[in-house]
Each structure stands twice: as structure tokens, then as C-alpha cells.
């Protein structure tokens, strides 16, 4: 990371930007696939109420534990609810938790990293100790403890996952800032007297944006998994609202009775969502990191 050549980003004219994007996508077919997957995911989450064939919450106890059939593509759960509909609706929870918790971590972590890297000195020393402390916690234990402390609700899971993600961003940002700080144009700007905040926002930040974007995408994948894990442990959204991890938790006791469909639906859904973000992040990393481009 230190010593790498980072592209300096210059503002582009509008038509240049569009053709650049198209060119960019054409040159990176994997990016295209990733973007398409992401769009489908967002579409499902946004329009779940319209796409889902049944009400995901209405209890229909007579139909409990039915295997998959034409009427119910993924069967029914132990309260007679359509698993497929619950999976579609569950995407809203997982995606929103994933995106919001990553945003929290991003905002806090990047700010801390920027300040620590730019200001240096005592602030840097203190801030990095706190970051080290956060890192030394086993992440899942920390997330569980925070969620337990604040209450097993979905907002608190978001906060917990966000907090856990902060050190990663902070360190990454700080490292990038340190390597860019001594570059000529930054030194020039400082000498001329540009206020530090401006330097940070207008000059430093755009140059370190690329690895951060990659990190954010991959972190969303992690966040979705983390939300599922927390829900699985019982620290997620309130029933009867569908959530992938929670539905796996509720139905795992039926696996031994060979009633696999209740957990298969949410399990595969988590996989698709996480895979999308991982795939996209990977493709972004390959496209944006010049070093890999050279050897890849």
C-alpha cells in the first residue's frame, strides 16, 4: 500500500464521464455481472411486497410444515407461512442492515482515520490505541455484547456491526492518508495555506476513495453475514417479521426431522446476497487497483 501509485482524479466533463463508465464496464465484464446481480437484489428488496405470492406473517397453522410444492415453491414453515414469501421479504432486513451498518462504520472509521492520519501526534496515538482495543476484541463477541447491552432489536444489531467494522476502515484510511500526505501537491497546498479540512476533503479523500469503495463493498458482504449470525443467535429483528438468519434459527430444529426447506430458502438467499457483494467487491478491486492490473 505504501509506495503504490495512486491515480490522481481530475473532474471530468459530463459526456466524458458517461462514456468512461461504459468503457469501464466493457473492459471489466465481471463488474458488469456484479452490478447486474446487485440491481436484481435491490429490485427484490424494494418490490418484495408486490412480488411475494403470500402474506409472510399471516399464520395458517393447518398448513404447517408442508414440503415444497407448486402452491408453495419453498414449502411452509411450522406456522404454515410460505417460505418463499418470507425469503423475499427478508431481503429488506438483510440489505438494510448490511448497508446501514456499513455506512455507520464507514462514516466513523473513515473520519477517525482521516483525522489520525492527517493530524498525527497525540490524537493519532490515542485514537490508534482505541482502535487497537476494538481490534483486540473478538468481533463477534463484541457484536453480541453490544446487541445484548442495547437490546435485541434490529437497530442495535446495525450499531453493533457498524462498531465492529470501524477499526478496519480507520486503519485503511489512516494508512492511505499517511502515504499520500507527503506527496508534492499536498505539501504545496499546505504551504500555500489551504485550510486543513479543505485539503482533506478536496485533495486527500478523492485519492484514497478507490480502496475504500472496495472495502465498503466487501464489508457489506460481511455485514449481511454478521446480521444473519446475530439473528441466528437470537439477537435480530422482532418476530413475526421475516429475517433470513432468524428464520434459519427457528427452523434448524427441524433439520433432524428432514424438514430442510424452511432453512434452505433463507440460507441460499444469504448466500446469493453475500456472493453478490463479494463478487462486486472483488471485481472493483481488480478494476481499480493498478498494481493488480499489472500482474493480473
Amino acid at each position: 500500500m505504501s509506495g503504490a501509485t495512486l491515480p490522481v482524479v481530475l473532474p471530468l466533463r459530463r459526456q466524458d464521464r458517461v462514456s468512461t463508465v461504459r468503457y469501464f464496464l466493457r473492459k471489466n465484464p465481471r463488474m458488469l455481472v456484479g452490478v447486474v446481480l446487485l440491481t436484481i437484489l435491490l429490485f427484490v428488496a424494494a418490490f418484495a411486497p408486490l412480488i411475494a405470492p403470500y402474506d409472510p406473517i399471516k399464520v395458517n397453522i393447518v398448513d404447517q410444515l408442508q414440503p415444497p410444492s407448486f402452491g408453495h415453491l419453498l414449502g411452509t414453515d411450522d406456522l404454515g407461512r410460505d417460505v418463499f414469501s418470507r425469503v423475499l421479504w427478508g431481503s429488506r432486513v438483510s440489505l438494510s442492515v448490511g448497508l446501514i451498518s456499513v455506512s455507520i462504520g464507514f462514516l466513523v472509521g473513515v473520519s477517525v482515520g482521516l483525522l489520525a492520519g492527517y493530524l498525527g501526534g497525540t490524537f493519532d496515538l490515542l485514537a490508534m490505541r482505541v482502535i487497537d482495543a476494538l481490534l483486540a476484541f473478538p468481533a463477534l463477541v463484541l457484536a453480541i455484547a453490544i446487541t445484548a447491552a442495547l437490546g435485541p432489536q434490529i437497530q442495535n444489531a446495525m450499531i453493533a456491526i457498524g462498531v465492529v467494522a470501524v477499526p478496519g476502515y480507520a486503519r485503511l484510511t489512516r494508512g492511505q492518508v499517511l502515504s499520500v500526505r507527503s506527496r508534492e501537491f499536498i505539501v504545496a497546498a499546505r504551504t500555500v495555506g489551504v485550510p486543513p479540512l479543505r485539503i482533506v476533503l478536496r485533495h486527500i479523500f478523492p485519492n484514497i476513495a478507490n480502496p475504500l469503495v472496495v472495502q465498503a463493498t466487501l464489508a457489506t458482504a460481511f455485514a449481511i453475514l454478521a446480521e444473519a449470525a446475530l439473528s441466528f443467535l437470537g439477537l435480530g429483528p422482532q418476530p413475526p417479521y421475516p429475517s433470513w438468519g432468524q428464520d434459519i434459527n427457528y427452523s434448524q430444529r427441524y433439520l433432524a426431522n428432514m424438514k430442510w426447506w424452511m432453512s434452505a430458502g433463507p440460507g441460499i438467499a444469504i448466500f446469493i446476497a453475500v456472493f453478490t457483494f463479494n463478487f462486486l467487491g472483488d471485481a472493483l478491486r481488480d478494476a481499480l487497483d493498478p498494481r493488480l492490473r499489472r500482474s493480473g
Binding site: 399464520v59 397453522i61 406456522l79 445484548a148 435485541p152 422482532q238 418476530p239 413475526p240 426431522n257 426447506w261
Partner: protein, 527 residues
Amino acid sequence: MARTISHAIAILAALAIVLGACTGTSGGPSGSAGAKAVYGGSVTFAMNSDISNMDPMLSGLFVDRHLMYAMYDSLVRVTPKGEIIPWLSALPTVSADGKAYTFKLRTDVKYHDGTAFDADSVKWNLDRYRQTKESLRLGELAPIDSVTVVDPSTVRVDLKTPFAPFLSVLVDRSGMMLSRKTVEAGGADFTRKAFKAGSGPFILTEAVKDDHYTFQKNPDWWQKAANGDKLPYLDTVIIKPITDGDVRLTNVRTGQVQATNAVTGKDVPTVKTDSTLVYQEIAGIGYNSLVPNRAPTFLFNEARYIKAVSLAMDRAELLAKGPAQGVGVVAYGPIAPSHFAYDPSFKPFEKPDVAAAKKLVADVGKGPLKFELLVSSGDAATLQLAQLLQSQLAKADITMDIKTLLFNEIVTLQQQHKHPGMTLIGWSGRIDPDGNVYDFNYTGRPNNDSAYSNKDVDSLLDQTRTATDQAKRKELFQKAQQTFVVDDPSRIFYSFQAAQLLTAKAVQGFEVYPDQLPRFQTVWVQK
């Protein structure tokens, strides 16, 4: 593909049921009455969670008692029918005023560490349970005024006031006798390494937390079987905590475990048709209830709201389609089928009555009924029950929101009577109906989770404690039950837990008790 597999499994299951109906057994103690018991062998038993304590003084968990019944003896014990029988002591003589109990002790009993069991030991044990600051038996033994050694084999216990259920309290932990020498030598670690402290049929030889507890036969145990055989038969008993129901069942089916008392509802049909296993089930003394917060200024201070929920609820459906899947018995009140005070004709809310529920809510006149049910987060089975209940109440326009919280928080909110809605509480049950009724419905008692207060009930319950005639006590209990279940509800009861026992075919002489606890002294293994 999935359809084919499901169909195949369904056909196989149907076949199994048909075949099983011819060979499976259920009900009655395992083994044929005529077979001759064989000495030796080992049985591994799986319980559904790990213990917290081996010291009866500090024990708070139901599972602790599994081990205690194997290694400790109590002053008296109980039969599967609920009758109290002599054990370390003969049944006591009670003074006319009901305040003095005189116990004549057995003289042939020795603790596993060699020390003798005598009146001094009884006094030391009882005083320890009722006077040590952190003892969890303080409440149960509060009625005791003093314990006196009359002679080496006689002890007299004087109560402050007559207390009819006193003897039943001495059946369990409060009456368990331990060797003073071993307890004092163990210090703070005794509670996890209670080797050789008891006088029971088995001696604890190994304790590995979360894994297994091993017991060896006590060759000097004093009890004999009905036919004169010296007990126990088994050489070794191993008790394993296995929390997951599926893992537990698999262990039984693969033979790594030969007996268990916790079979999940959904697995019961499978075990009933398995010819290598024997499944027994009777109504237990534990119950499940829905508990409102009746403290003043809270929603459920209004009794009609509670009745409305009780009327709208379909208890039969909860039992049949909920997590119990039919295992257990519907309950309307806390007095269990095996209690002497049970009234089988007491069925106040047999069928759900949506119209009556709606009318009651309308009568109160404050709009539709809406409240919160607090459920322990992550508990899949209870959450299924809660959601089923939610849909039942919705039919009567009653909105019940489910709120998941951590278990500890729920316990705290209940104790402080500060939550706005209801919680789900189960009670493992006691032999005497008093243990299922008094502390839960009497004004100001610590287990009165609903902050219920009714002077008539208080007076009736006090009388049940002083009355000596069982028929009179039964009448009083039923009168009280009518009030705190129907007229002015303290909480809503909906099912009695089942006492289960699943054993491998070769295991004989294992009886199922309403308190769900295993007694190993009569068990033997067919070779």
C-alpha cells in the same frame, strides 16, 4: 427431486407407523413384570442442560436434582402416584396442634465417606439450609422455628405455625442429608466436587462440567426392592448434559445414551414407532402460563381484559400444533392431574369463545385491546407458540405484539412488575398443590409475578396451610382456584408439562414420575 424425496420419506414413515403399531409400546414402566432383575451393567442418561450446583443449599436449577436423587437421600420420598413414603426417616408423628414433627430415623445408614447418619447430622443439615445467608432453601424452610436432637435416632422439628405441606418440602432438596465432614472439607469448591457427600444408591466419582457425571454403585446402600433384592442393580450410571434435542435423540438412537427424560414434541411420533426404544409419558406437575402484570396503573389491572384473552385463546390448538405437538395436557389452573386436589371436571375455557372475548373488551369501553408479550430472544420453540397465540387472539380483534428481550431482562422486569403486558412463565411443579399455588397467587409473595392481590384467595390459601384434613384442603384449593382462574384471574394457565421417559429396550425397571426426575436405584439392564 425434492418432491420425490419428500414422498419417499412420507411413504417410509407411513410404513414405519403401521409396523410400529404392532410392535411399539407406550405407558407403564419399562420391562415385563415377570423378568428377573440382573445385577451389573451401566446406563448413560441424557438431561437437557448442564447443572449449576451439586449442593442442595445453593441449587437453583431443575436439572441439578437429576444428580441429587442419585447420590443423596432425603428424609422422606414420594411414589409415582404422589404419596409420601419413608426414606431416611419413618413418616413423622405430628402433634395435635400441627406444629411439632417427630422423626424416627433409620439406624443402618452410612454416608459414602464412612461417617454415620444420625440425628446430629439431620439437625446440622436442616440448620444449614435454613440459616446460611445465601441458602436458596430459606423460603421453603421459613416455617421452622427450631430443630432439636431428642436422641441419636430421633429429631423433633418445631414450626412457628402449622404448615400442612411441610412434609412434601422435605422430599426434595430441603430434606436432603449430606455428610458434614465432606461438606466442610470441600469449602467453596464443594458445590462442584461433591464426591462422597451423600448416602444415596450411587456414589459420584467423576464430574466433568458440560460433559458427564459418573456414579458408581454404593455397595452398602440400605434399601431393598419389594422382592427383597439388594439395591441398586447397576454398577455405573453416567449422566450427560446434552442441550440440543436433536443431538440428544440421535445419541439415544445410536446407543450412546440409553435413557433420557426430554424428548421434543416433534420427535415423539418417531420414537413411538421405533421398536428399539420404549417411550413413557404421563402428565407432569409442571405447568405453563401466560402472566399479565396486574399492578395498579397497568393495563391488566382490569380483570376483564385477562378473561378476554383467556376466552379467545385456543388451548387445544396451542398444545396440538405448537411446539409441544400434542405432548402434555391442557391446563386451566395450576392444580395438576397427579395432585390430590385435582378436579377433572374443572374446564372453564374449554373452547375458545371469540364473541364473548370481544364483548368483554367492549364492556370495558376503552377501545380495542392491544398489549406486548415479552419472549426470550432466540428461543425458537417459544416464539412459535407466541406467534400462534398472536394469530388466535387476532381473531378476537386483540392485538398482541411480540417483543423479544434477553431472558435476564424479562426476569428483572417481571420481578419489578414494571412491564406493560404479559410474559410466559413455566413452573417445574411441586408435589403438594401448595407448591404450585401459594407463592404465585398470594398477595406480596416473591413468585407472585402478576402482582395479584385478592383477599378472599389469601384467606383460603392460608386455611389450606393450617387445615390437616386432606379432603378439606382439596375443597379449599378448588374454591380458591375458581377465583384466581375464572372470577378474578391472576394469570392464564394453558398446559401441563409432560413427564417423559425414553429408554432403550434393554433398560428395565425405569419408572416415570410426575416430577420428571429419574430414579436409578430400581433400574437394571437386560443382558
